[in-house]
Amino acid sequence: MKAFTYQRAGSAEDAARLAAHPGAMLLAGGTTLLDLAKCGVAEPDMLVDIGHISGLDAIAVDAGGATIGALAKMSAVADHAGMRAAFPAVAESLSQAASAQLRNMATIGGNLLQRTRCPYFRDPAAFPACNKRDPGSGCAAIGGVTRNHAVLGTSEACIATYPGDLAVALVAFDAAVRLGGRTIAVEEFFLVPGDTPAREHAIGPGEMITAVAIPASPAARRSTFLKVRDRQSYEFAAASAAVGLELGPDGRTIRDLRVALGGVATVPWRCRAVEDALKGTLLEPESVRAASRLAVEGAVAQADNAHKIDLAPRLVARAILSLGGLA
C-alpha cells in the first residue's frame, strides 16, 4: 500500500471541500478502499475520513419506511429489529454478506459503493486493459476466465458483476439514495457500463451519500433474500435474489411482487418483467416458474458463465414460491 495523507472531515461540507483536492478519496469504514489500495487499484494521495461526521449513522424505521444513515454499520442494520420486521430481505442481504468482522466495520454508504470483484479489474499489474480503471484501455475479462462475470447489463466495454447484496434488496423495494440535498432512486443511482464503465454511479462532484430511504410496503414486509454460492458462506454470490410478495385477501392472488437479482448483472437488476407477468395472477408453481424465466431476458453469456442464466430464474421462482408457502 502506498503512503497517503489523512484528513478528518467534521461535516459533509467539510468533506466535499477536502474531497476536491486532487487524489483525495472519501473514507468511511475503509474496508473497500484499503482492500483496493493493497491490490494497487486505488492510489489515493489523501484520504478524507467522513466517519466522524455526526448524525449520519442513525437508523429510523416507522410506518412510512426506513431511513438509514450512510455511516450506519452493516451489522447495526442487519441486527435492527425494526428493519428485520419491516424489511427482512434488506436485513438478510446484509447478514449474509462479508464476515461478522467486516460487518462491524463497513458502512451502508460504503457497501453500496463497493467495487466489482472482477479479477481483471483487481490486478492492474498483470492486466492493464480495464475500461473501468482506465477508460479506453479495453476489457481483459472478455476472453478470459468469466465464471463470475455478468450476463445482464453488459457491454462490449465491460462485463464486471456488481458484487453487492444490499443494493439488490434496495432496488427491489424502490429505495432511494440521498446525496446531501438531492435524492435519487437506487435503480437510477447505479449505471450500466455502456461505453463508460468507469462511471458507476450517478454521483456528482462534491456529493456523497448521506442516507438511504426505503418506503414501507407489504411486499417489503414479506420478503426474502436468497443467495447461491459455491461456498456456504463468505463468498460473493453466483446469483442472488431479493423478492417481496403481497398476496390479496384470498391468500392466492399476487397483489404486489418485487424481484431483483444480484451476482448476475453489472448493476443491481430489477426484474419488472417477472413482476408484471405475475401481478394479478394466482400464485401457482407452474406460472411462477414460467414467469421467472423473464428475469434473464436479454442475457448474454460469456465462455464460462452460461449457468447463471439457468440459475437466476430458479432462484427467483424458489424465492417467490417460498414466500407464498409453496416451496
Partner: protein, 765 residues
C-alpha cells in the same frame, strides 16, 4: 465370533502408558495467548524491508528494467534485477544431486511463468519498497504461452518410463472383459494456502547467516542457503520454532529466499521479505493438474480382470515435479492384469510441488470413482464390490501387508454411518428440494521410514528436555516427543520441555511424507532410554547414591521418582538423586542411523536429503495406512449447490501416539479433501498464464460453515514393522479418497457423474 468382536490392542493409553494418551498440546498455551513467535514476527534490529516483483507475462524474457525512478524513491536501499550477478552456486536437491552447470540464478532474464520474480526492491520501510517497486519500468519480450495441461498447445508431453507399472496382459484382458468402464478424470491445480504466508528474515554476521523462515525441514533448507553462498554448512542457521501450516510447501528453500539473503549480504543489513498473499500462488508450486484415462475390465459380478491407466500431469518448463497419478491405483484392489503409464507435460507454471498426499490424492480420485462406476455397471453395492476385489497382499510388490485393516475400516465405517440403509438407485433419496446421496471411497498412504537424532537432558530440578531440529507444523511434534520421553524416562509429561525447529539442533528428516512422528519418537525413545540407563547406573554405583548399598541390580523410574524394584528401599526424586551425586544434568544424544551412515557424510546426507528414505516395500512387507470415507451430500435440485451433510471415516494408521492429535490430523485432511472436492481450483488465464484467483477471497478454502459433523474411527493396531513404536502415518491419509467419496455421493444424489474437480454448481445446474 465376528471380526468386530476380535479383542483389539491399539497400543494407546487404554492399554496403559503415557504414549497414546489424549493429552493437550504442549505448545497450546503459547499459541492460544499470542506468545508463539512465527518466523516473520522475530524481533530483529535494523531490518530493511524487501518487496518481490513478479513477472506479469507467462513466457518470454525481460528485455530491460529501468530502475532509475525506483532508485530515486525515498528510503530505497537496493534493487536487484536480472542485470545483477548474485554470485550464487547451485544447491543440492533432495536426491543429493548438485547441478554442475554454472551458477544458480534465481532472478533469470528468461521468464518461464507468470509470477516469476524479476526484481527485488529493498527499502527502509515496506511502504517505501512497495512504492519504489511500482516505479520499476519493466519491458518484456513476450513469448508463446502454454497455460495448462489441457491447453491445445500443451501436447502429449514426455513419457515417464520409470513410473510404468505392468503385470499380466492388461490390454488383452480389458478387451476380453465382459464389463468395461472407461473414463477420463481431471484434477486442477491446487494450492497449500497455509494461513502463514511464506517469507524470511535473513541476517548476516560476517560469513555467518541466520535465516528465520517457516520450515518443515530446517537442516535441508539451511544446507541450500549454505551451498548457494558457498559457505560451510555450520555457518548457516535456519530457525523455525513455530510454523503456521505447511502442507508440503515449507520443506524447501525457494528462489525468493536466495534473493532476499543475497540482498541482506550486499546491504550488510538484515532483510525481511514477506511474500504477499497473491505472490504465494506463484513463489512456489502447489499440486500439479492431472488427467487420467482409466479403464477397468471386470466379470459380470464385478470381479476385476484388468486395470489400464494412462495418466498425465503438468510440470514447469524449468523444473521437474511428478504428481504420480498411479500412486494408489495398483494398491487398492486385487487384479490379475495391470498397466499404468504416465506422461509429464511442461507448461508455463511455477514448478509444482508436494501438497498433502501428493500423487495418492489425484490417483485415488480416479480409481475410487471408477470402482464406483463399476459397481453401478454390475449392479453391486459400492462396499460389496470393494470386498469382492479385496487385495489380500500388495498386488504390485507381491508382499504381504504389514497390517491392512481395510475390512475393519469398511465394516465399522459402514456400521457407524448406517450404510446398510442406503437405497441403490441414484436420485432415490430426497428431503424437500434436497437430493440426498451417500458415497463411499477408500484411501491409502505409504509408510515411509527414515532416521532421526535427538538429545535428551535430565536436569537438576528433576525435569527433562528433548532437543531436536525437527519441526512442528501443527501436527503435534512437541507433544508426542514429550510423551515419548515421559514414558521412557518415568518423568511426568508436565515436566518435559521440548525444543524444536532449528538447524543447529540434532538431525531430523522433513516433516513430510507422514513419517516424522514414527521416525522421531523412535529417536527420542532411544535417547531417553539411554539417559534413563545412565541415571540408573549412576544411582547404583555412585558413592553418594542412596541406592548404592541396596543390592539392587536395577532401579525403577516412575512419576519422577527412583526406587528399587522390590519397593522396600529408598524412594527419591530424580532431582534429589542428581543433587546427592553432584550431577548438574545427564545428557545423551542418540540417533537411529544404521552403521553404514555413521560417517559425517552419511549423517549429513540423512538429515538433508531423501536418499536415506526407505519406501513401503523396502523390507519383507508392504506397509501403508488405510482409510474408508462414508459421505452424505445434499444437492439442491434447482441450484446444484452441494453440501456435505455428514461424514464417517475409519482409519488404520497403526498405533496412535496421541489420539486427540491424530484425530485432528485426520479431520483436517478430510476437510482439505472437502475443499478439493467442491471448492479449490487455480484458475489460469489462457492468454498469459496468470493464476487469476490468487487470493483467499477467490481461491476458496472451506470455512466453518462448509464443514459437517465428521466422525472418525480408529481401527488400527500397532504395526511393529512400520516404526519403532508401532505407528503408521496419520497426517496425509485423511485427504486421500475424500474427493471420490463426495463425487460418488453426488452421483448417488443426482445421477450425474462428475469426473472433473472441483464439483461446482455449474456442473449440476
Amino acid at each position: 465370533m465376528t471380526l468386530l468382536d476380535t479383542p483389539r490392542k491399539h497400543g494407546d493409553a487404554s492399554d496403559g502408558g503415557a504414549i497414546g494418551a489424549r493429552l493437550s498440546r504442549l505448545d497450546g498455551k503459547l499459541k492460544i495467548t499470542g506468545a508463539a513467535t512465527y518466523a516473520l514476527e522475530q524481533p530483529v534490529d535494523g531490518l530493511a524491508y524487501a518487496v518481490l516483483v513478479p513477472a506479469t507475462i507467462g513466457a518470454g524474457r525481460v528485455a530491460r528494467i529501468d530502475v532509475a525512478a525506483a532508485k530515486a524513491a525515498p528510503g530505497v536501499r537496493l534493487i536487484l534485477t536480472p542485470d545483477d550477478d548474485l554470485g550464487l552456486q547451485p544447491a543440492t536437491d533432495w536426491n543429493n544431486v548438485r547441478a554442475s552447470d554454472g551458477p544458480y540464478v534465481p532472478l533469470p532474464r528468461d521468464i518461464a511463468y507468470n509470477g516469476q520474480p524479476v526484481a527485488l526492491v529493498v527499502a527502509d520501510s515496506l511502504e517505501q519498497a512497495t512504492e519504489a517497486a511500482r516505479r520499476l519500468a519493466i519491458a518484456y519480450e513476450e513469448g508463446p504461452v502454454t497455460p495448462g495441461l489441457d491447453s491445445p498447445n500443451a501436447g502429449e508431453g514426455s513419457p515417464l518410463d520409470q513410473l510404468s507399472v505392468a503385470w499380466g496382459d492388461a490390454e488383452a484382458a480389458l478387451a476380453a472383459a465382459p464389463v468395461r468402464v472407461e473414463a477420463e478424470y481431471h484434477t486442477p491445480r491446487e494450492y497449500h494456502a497455509a494461513m502463514e504466508p511464506h517469507g524470511l528474515i535473513a541476517r548476516w554476521e560476517g560469513d555467518r547467516l541466520t535465516v528465520w523462515e517457516p520450515s518443515q525441514w530446517t537442516h535441508s533448507m539451511a544446507r541450500s542457503y549454505a551451498e548457494w553462498f558457498g559457505l560451510p554448512p555450520e555457518n548457516v542457521r535456519l530457525v523455525s520454532p513455530f510454523v503456521g501450516g505447511g502442507f508440503g510447501s515449507k520443506g524447501f528453500s525457494y528462489g525468493f529466499g536466495a534473493i532476499a539473503a543475497a540482498a541482506a549480504r550486499r546491504l550488510g543489513r538484515p532483510v525481511k521479505l514477506a511474500v504477499t498473499r497473491p505472490q504465494n500462488f506463484a513463489a512456489y508450486g502447489g499440486r500439479a493438474a492431472t488427467r487420467q484415462s482409466l479403464a477397468l475390465g471386470a466379470t459380470e459380478d464385478g470381479v476385476l480382470q484388468a486395470i489400464v491407466l494412462r495418466g498425465a500431469s503438468e510440470t514447469s518448463t524449468v523444473g521437474t515435479w511428478v504428481e504420480q497419478v498411479g500412486a494408489a491405483t495398483p494398491l487398492m484392489y486385487a487384479v490379475p492384469n495391470f498397466s499404468a503409464r504416465q506422461r509429464l507435460v511442461a507448461v508455463n507454471t511455477v514448478t509444482p510441488g508436494a501438497l498433502r498426499a501428493p500423487g495418492k490424492t489425484p490417483s485415488a480420485f480416479a480409481i475410487e470413482s471408477a470402482i464406483d462406476e463399476l459397481a453401478c455397471a454390475v449392479g453391486a453395492d459400492p462396499l460389496e464390490i470393494r470386498l469382492r476385489n479385496y487385495a489380500e497382499e500388495d498386488p504390485q510388490a507381491r508382499k504381504p501387508w504389514s497390517t491392512r485393516r481395510m475390512r475393519e475400516a469398511l465394516a465399522e465405517g459402514a456400521e457407524a454411518f448406517g450404510w446398510a440403509r442406503r437405497s441403490r438407485e441414484p436420485r432415490s433419496m430426497r428431503d424437500g428440494h434436497q437430493l440426498i446421496g451417500w458415497g463411499l471411497a477408500t484411501g491409502t498412504f505409504p509408510v515411509i521410514r527414515n532416521y532421526g537424532e535427538a538429545l535428551v537432558r535430565i536436569l537438576a530440578d528433576g525435569s527433562a528436555e528433548v532437543v531436536t531440529g525437527a519441526t512442528d507444523i501443527g501436527q503435534g511434534t512437541y507433544t508426542i516427543l514429550a510423551q515419548t520421553a515421559a514414558e521412557a524416562l518415568g518423568i511426568p509429561f508436565e515436566r518435559i520441555d521440548v525444543r524444536l525447529g532449528d538447524s543447529a539442533l540434532p538431525g531430523a528428516p522433513v516433516a513430510g511424507g507422514s513419517k516424522l512422528a514414527g521416525v522421531m519418537t523412535g529417536a527420542v525413545q532411544k535417547a531417553a532410554i539411554a539417559a534413563r540407563d545412565e541415571l540408573i547406573a549412576l544411582a547404583l554405583n555412585d558413592p553418594n547414591s542412596p541406592f548404592r548399598d541396596t543390592g539392587a541390580n536395577t532401579l525403577i523410574l516412575a512419576d519422577g521418582r527412583i526406587s528399587a524394584p522390590r519397593g522396600d528401599g529408598p524412594v527419591v526424586s530424580v532431582g534429589e538423586l542428581l543433587g546427592r551425586i553432584g550431577r548438574e544434568r545427564i545428557e545423551v544424544r542418540r540417533d537411529t542411523l544404521p552403521d553404514h551412515l555413521q560417517t559425517p557424510e552419511g549423517r549429513f546426507r540423512a538429515w538433508t536429503t531423501m536418499t536415506t528414505v526407505q519406501g513401503p516395500t523396502a523390507g519383507d512387507y508392504s506397509m501403508h495406512s488405510w482409510c474408508a470415507h462414508f459421505v452424505e451430500v445434499r444437492v439442491d435440485e434447482d441450484f446444484g449447490t452441494i453440501r456435505v451433510a455428514r461424514m464417517v471415516s475409519a482409519f488404520d494408521c497403526g498405533r496412535l501416539y496421541n489420539p486427540k492429535l491424530a484425530e485432528s490430523q485426520w479431520k483436517g485432511g478430510i476437510i482439505m479433501g472437502i475443499g478439493m472436492a467442491l471448492l479449490e481450483e487455480g484458475l489460469v488465464d489462457s492468454r498469459n498464464g496468470r493464476v487469476i484467483n490468487n487470493n483467499l477471497g477467490d481461491y476458496l478454502l472451506p470455512t466453518n460453515a462448509d464443514v459437517p459433523d465428521i466422525r472418525v474411527i480408529d481401527v488400527g493396531i500397532p504395526d511393529p514393522h512400520a516404526s519403532a513404536l508401532g505407528g503408521k502415518g496419520v497426517g496425509e491419509v485423511g485427504i486421500v479418497g475424500v474427493a471420490p467419496a463426495i463425487a460418488n455421493a453426488v452421483f448417488h444424489a443426482t445421477g450425474r457423474r462428475v469426473r472433473r474437480l472441483p464439483i461446482t454448481l455449474d456442473a449440476l445446474v
